[in-house]
């Protein structure tokens, strides 16, 4: 399983209600249901991924986050997760608000655009970074709202969102010392646990 998802799991209480925004093929939610007995629900817009998640026995609703989440009642979930989708939504700030309206806590993961490799790529080549991790060209990418760790934390401050926990994933699976100390420069993936 993806590293960011492994890090999230300890933050989710057994038996709690979890909404996974952009649940993909449901790998993470399925694992949470199997290992933590959560009551899970997923949102997904890709037809193939949705069917794959349904095949895992998950409850998944086809719904585009960009068209709002107003159909979910206030505080109806314990945790709302959005893994690697923040950079792909039209209004990341509104989605964050909605996550913390619907859930007691929100968990967000995103690729850190401030990573030194991105900076080096942009700084030396003067072109938008393309890598194994971010494989798209600027004109044809689902990722329309890249941000850095510092950008994200500034947004949380301006919105009065509390950061309960954060984890940084570096280049290697070893203890990410550099990413922990200077996340804006060394974190490949940032993981946040948020509340109001």
């Amino acid at each position: 399983m993806r590293l960011d998802l492994t890090r999230i799991q300890p933050w989710i209480a057994p038996g709690s209600r979890v909404l996974d925004l952009g649940c993909g093929d449901g790998e993470f939610l399925h694992r949470l249901q199997a290992e933590c007995q959560v009551r899970g629900m997923g949102l997904e817009i890709d037809p193939g991924q949705l069917t794959a998640a349904v095949s895992r026995g998950l409850n998944v609703v086809e719904q585009n986050m960009d068209e709002g989440l107003g159909n979910f009642p206030d505080q109806s979930f314990d945790t709302v997760v959005m893994a690697h989708a923040l950079q792909a939504v039209h209004y990341p700030d509104r989605v964050l608000d909605e996550m913390l309206r619907i859930g007691r806590e929100g968990i967000v993961t995103f690729p850190n655009f401030g990573h030194w490799r991105c900076r080096l790529y942009l700084g030396t080549r003067g072109r938008m970074p393309v890598s194994k991790f971010m494989p798209y060209s600027w004109y044809d990418t689902p990722n329309i709202h890249f941000c850095t760790v510092d950008d994200f934390e500034a947004l949380c401050r301006s919105k009065g969102i509390r950061i309960l926990d954060r984890e940084m994933v570096g280049n290697t699976e070893r203890r990410p010392l550099l990413a922990g100390a200077w996340p804006n420069l060394f974190a490949v993936t940032a993981i946040y646990r948020l509340s109001r």
């Binding site: 037809p47 949705l50 069917t51 349904v54 095949s55 026995g57 609703v61 159909n71 009642p73």
Partner: protein
């Protein structure tokens, strides 16, 4: 029309309808009691030892019990949902015991307006009691009792059938584990009712209708019923589907000068064919009765008009499916169901299938629809 979708899946083969007779009166929503009555039904697959694999199919406006397989070796067409019912198909007869009946008030063998009214010795005709979806659900529950089925693994229906499936979830929450609602709605819109009214008016305006007593007079309001079906059929298809199927193609004459014939455009010929086929195989009073049941269906009315309060009574999981070009029961109607289920904290899976076929898509072999349906039914069987 076959997309080769069912190449690897089989047919349930030759099936024989059965009839269940009920003598105990059924109290109807209209306040009248009906007794005795008969329900004709078919079953596919085998009921397991724990009786936990039974699935009920609820039919739509013009449907009936013959949902899958063939009635004889020479039968040309299989049952109406053969694409989805059979060995290896989404509603897999290797796993499930599938029950499909003709609803009360129908005209394919179950007691309805064409049956003899025991009080008069004549066909019921227009005197057959008006029915609501809940009456069908209660009669289906009695059939379940008769078959020894205390709980359905799933109740499944498209269109009007989906309304029955939802009503099942509210009327008998402890007897439904999964509810599959396809191309349906919690209630009809004014536009839906308007189309049904045109259909009824067409039938009632036919001189051969004779206030509904056409059978006693040895007549059939074939023109009126055909016209009703023509109107209905347009609402089942999408603009795109009609454009793709017929376009502006002519059967005779030329676009420059027109023609001498009555039927010039291909779409005219198609509609007339559909109308005449239908009027030869369906009963006009049943059509009126079924469209009224549709018009009056309102899932949440008795729950303070609150669909969330209504669905809180359900105990099952839901699969809701809509089709992108369905304008009779549009995806927005299905979303209302899904939103109410979410707000009521019921487990729900929903997908809007891209399909050109309009409302009729629910009967068609569409790969994404089939895969999703099969994936969900896998879970129904595993439970």
């Amino acid at each position: 029309m076959r997309h080769g979708a069912t190449d690897t899946a089989g047919s349930v083969g030759i099936v024989t309808p059965q009839t269940a007779r009920f003598d105990e009166p059924l109290m109807l929503a209209c306040g009248r009691a009906l007794a005795p009555y008969e329900l004709v039904y078919e079953t596919y697959g085998t009921l397991n030892a724990t009786r936990s694999n039974a699935v009920l199919i609820c039919h739509a406006l013009s449907g009936h019990h013959h949902a899958a397989g063939y009635h004889s070796e020479t039968d040309r067409k299989p049952g109406w949902w053969d694409e989805y019912i059979g060995p290896g198909k989404p509603i897999d007869s290797n796993r499930f015991f599938i029950v499909s009946l003709n609803n009360l008030g129908g005209c394919h063998g179950s007691t309805g307006p064409t049956a003899i009214n025991p009080d008069t010795g004549k066909p019921w005709g227009p005197d057959f009691p008006p029915l609501r979806a809940r009456d069908w659900v209660h009669s289906q529950a009695r059939l379940a009792d008769r078959l020894g089925i205390s709980s359905w693994a799933a109740v499944i229906g498209g269109s009007l059938g989906g309304m029955q499936a939802m009503r099942w979830a509210l009327e008998y929450p402890e007897r439904v584990k999964h509810c599959v609602v396809i191309a349906s709605a919690m209630k009809l819109s004014a536009q839906n009712i308007a189309f049904n009214e045109i259909a009824r008016h067409a039938i009632q305006s036919d001189p051969d209708f004779a206030e509904g007593r056409y059978l006693e007079q040895g007549n059939l309001p074939a023109k009126g019923l055909g016209l009703a079906r023509m109107v209905g059929h347009i609402t089942y298809l999408s603009d795109d589907a009609m454009a793709a199927k017929f376009g502006r193609d002519l059967r005779s004459g030329t676009l420059e000068r027109g023609g001498e014939d009555d039927v010039e455009f291909q779409v005219q010929s198609y509609l007339r064919y559909q109308g005449s086929q239908f009027s030869g195989s369906f009963d006009a009073n049943t059509y009126i009765l079924m469209t009224r049941a549709l018009d009056y269906f309102d899932l949440a009315r008795e729950y303070g008009d609150d669909p969330v309060a209504a669905f809180r009574h359900a105990r099952c999981s839901f699969l809701v499916i809509s089709f992108s070009t369905d304008w009779r029961f549009s995806p927005a109607r299905s979303r209302e169901i899904v939103d109410a289920l979410i707000a009521a904290d019921r487990p729900v899976t929903y997908a809007e299938i891209e399909a050109n076929e309009g409302h009729d898509a629910f009967l068609m072999p569409i790969p994404r629809y089939r895969e999703l349906f099969a994936a969900y039914m896998q879970r129904v069987g595993d439970a």
